[in-house]
Subunit: 386 residues, 2 copies
Amino acid sequence: MSALPLAHAPGQWRVAATRRIEYELRKADDVFDPQNDALLAGGRSRGSRRFVVIDDQVHRLHGARVAAYFQSRGVQARILALPGGEEHKDEAAWRRVLQALDAFPIHRRDEPVIAIGGGVLTDVVGFAASCYRRGLPHIKVPTTLMGYVDAAVGIKTGINFNGHKNRLGSFEPPRRVLLDRRLLATLAPRHLRNGVCEIVKLAVICDAGLFDLLERSGADALASAFQAGASAAILDRAVGGMLRELAPNLYEDDLARAVDFGHTFSYGLEMRHAATLLHGEAVLLDVLASTVIAERRGLLAEADGERVLALVARLGLQPEPRLLEPAHMWQALLDRIEHRNGHQHVPLPTAIGACAFADDVVFPEIEAAVAALTERMTGHEPIAQC
Amino acid sequence: MSALPLAHAPGQWRVAATRRIEYELRKADDVFDPQNDALLAGGRSRGSRRFVVIDDQVHRLHGARVAAYFQSRGVQARILALPGGEEHKDEAAWRRVLQALDAFPIHRRDEPVIAIGGGVLTDVVGFAASCYRRGLPHIKVPTTLMGYVDAAVGIKTGINFNGHKNRLGSFEPPRRVLLDRRLLATLAPRHLRNGVCEIVKLAVICDAGLFDLLERSGADALASAFQAGASAAILDRAVGGMLRELAPNLYEDDLARAVDFGHTFSYGLEMRHAATLLHGEAVLLDVLASTVIAERRGLLAEADGERVLALVARLGLQPEPRLLEPAHMWQALLDRIEHRNGHQHVPLPTAIGACAFADDVVFPEIEAAVAALTERMTGHEPIAQC
C-alpha cells in the first residue's frame, strides 16, 4: 500500500494505493501423486478443506486418485465434477459452482479453490472464485493443451453471456498454476490440435524460433500427445512466450495486444458455431484470414504467408475456410472496437514472429481476403453466403 | 507495472506486477446542473455515450433533469431505472443491468457507467460494471445517506446470493464518487435514520469527536435532512473517517477491520428480516449488542455504554432489541469466521472512539448481552424465542 493512501482538500478526497500481484506457474510432474506437495502448497494443509472443481472426463480418468490425494493428506475435499466444452461456459455453470461453494464453508484466504480441467472450466471456476465473497484465491491445473499454453497462463476469467463470448468475467490472478504434461496424454487428437492452434498463433505473431520448432518437430510432438521428442521444448517455449506478452500488460492497460492475433474475427465465429467449432479452430481461421489481409496489404511477404499455410497443413490442422463469413467477421470487428475502446487494433503479422496493428481494416478487404484464402486452400472460389 | 514482470527458473515462471489504484470523492453541488462538469469528467464528453442506472424513486424526482443534462452536453445516454431496497439486491437486478448494458454498446475504458442511487443500487451496478468485459469504469452518485457516508465511499460491490448478504461481489474502485448533499433533502425520515446508524457506528468505534458532534448537533441535522446547521460538518467527518479506515486496507488484506463494527451479527439479522429491517437498522442492533458485550467483558466503561444508548435515543433511532436472537447471531458469527479466514475478529469498543478485536466470543455471552440490552432498553426481560 502507498504511504499516503488518502489526500484531502476542501470538498475532495483522493484515495491511492498500489497493489502487488504475484503468481507462479510451475511444472509439476504427476500432480496427483500423494508425495507431491504442489496441489496443497500456497494454503493450509492437514486439517484444512479444499473445494475442487474437476472436468467430468478428467474425473472419470483421475477422480479416484484425486480423492485419494486429499484423503492421504488429511484434507477434507468437496469434489465437484462439471462438463467442459464451450456450450457449458455459461451462467448456469458459474452458478452451480457458486452454490456448491456456498454449501461447503471454506476460509476466505488460505483454502484456495482448485480448478482441474480445460480452459472453459478454469475460466468458469476462476470467475466464480473471483466473485465469491469478493474473491477467493484459486489454483489452476490445466488438463488440456489449450489450458496448458493459453487459458491457464494468464489472469483472465470469464463466461459467455447473452450470446457473446467471455462477455462477463474478471481479471483474477491465480495463486498458482500447476503444469503436468502427463495429463495431456489421454487427450483426443482433435483437442490436441485445438491447443496447437494457439501455439501456431503465438509463433506467427511473436516467436520465429517457436515457428521453426513447430515446422521441425510439431507434427511429431502432436502425434505423441506432447509426451515425447521436442514436446517439452515446444510447451516451455509456448508458455514462456505467452507470459512474456502477458506479464507487462496483465490488466490490458494497453489494448493493442499481439496475443489478440486470431482473436478479432474469431469471437463471432465461435459463438455462431458453438456446437461444432472449438476455440482454437476458430482462432486458426482468424489467424489465416488475418495473415492474408496482411499479405494483401503488403505487410507480410507472400513467402511468409505460404509458410504459415504450409505449417498448418503439416500439422494436420484442417481449418474449414468456408466457415468464414465476411458479414459476420465485420460484426465481430465492430464489437471488438467497443472492447478495444474505440480502436480496431487488429494484430497483423509483418513477418514470422513480428506484429503490427491495423486500425483501418475495411469490409471489402475482409471479403477479398476470405475469397483469396478459400481459393488457396480449396482450389475453389467461396460459395456465396446469405 | 514492475520492472521485472517475469522471472524464469527451470520449470518455473513467476509473474509479478504492481497495480495503481486511484479514485476521488468530490463534493458536487447540484450535480445535474448542465453547467456542472462533474458527471462527465473522467471520460469522453461531447459525442460520447453513457450508460446510466438510476434508482426509480430518484428517477421520478430527477429523471427529467438527468436526461436534459446529457442532452445538453451532446452525450447519448441510456437511462435505466431500477428499484432500490435490499430485496432487489440480487442476481436478477445484476443480470438486468448487464443485459441492458449489452444492448447499448459503449467503449470499454472512457465511457464510464454511472450509478445514481442508494447503497443497494451502487453495489449492484458496481458489481455489474466490474463483470462486464472484465470491468468497465464506473462513477457513483449516492442519493441516500447510507450511500453517501458508507456504500459509495469504498471499493466494495456486491449482491445477495443464496440467502446470504453480499455473498457475491468484487473489489472494484470507482473512477469517482460525486457527493451532492442536496439529493438527501427528499429522503424519507426512516432512510435518513438508516444512514445515521452507520455514522453512529463509525463514531463509536473510531471517532470520539464525531460522537461529540452527533451528541450536540446530530438530531438537528437529521431533522433538516442534512441540509442545515452542522450537517455538512457531520457528513465531511463521516466520509473522511470512513476513508481513513478504508484507504490503507482497500482490499481487506487485514481482516480485522474497525469498520466491521456492527457487521458481525447483523448479516444474519438483515437477511432474516429483509422485508422489514434496513441495513443501518440491523447494524445498529449489532452495535448495541457488541457494546454490551464489551461492557460485560470490562472492556468498555458502563458510562460509555450509557452514552451510546443515550445518543441512540436522542437521535430517535428506535432499534428493536427483540429482533436479536442469540442462536441466529451465533450462526452469523460462524459465517463471519469463514469470511475472516478462521478468526472471529469481532470489533468491540474500548472507549468512545476506540476499538479492540475479540476472537473468543462465546454463545452464552451473546445470550447474556442480548438479555441485558433488552432489559435496559425496554424494562422487560427478553421473550424466549424458538
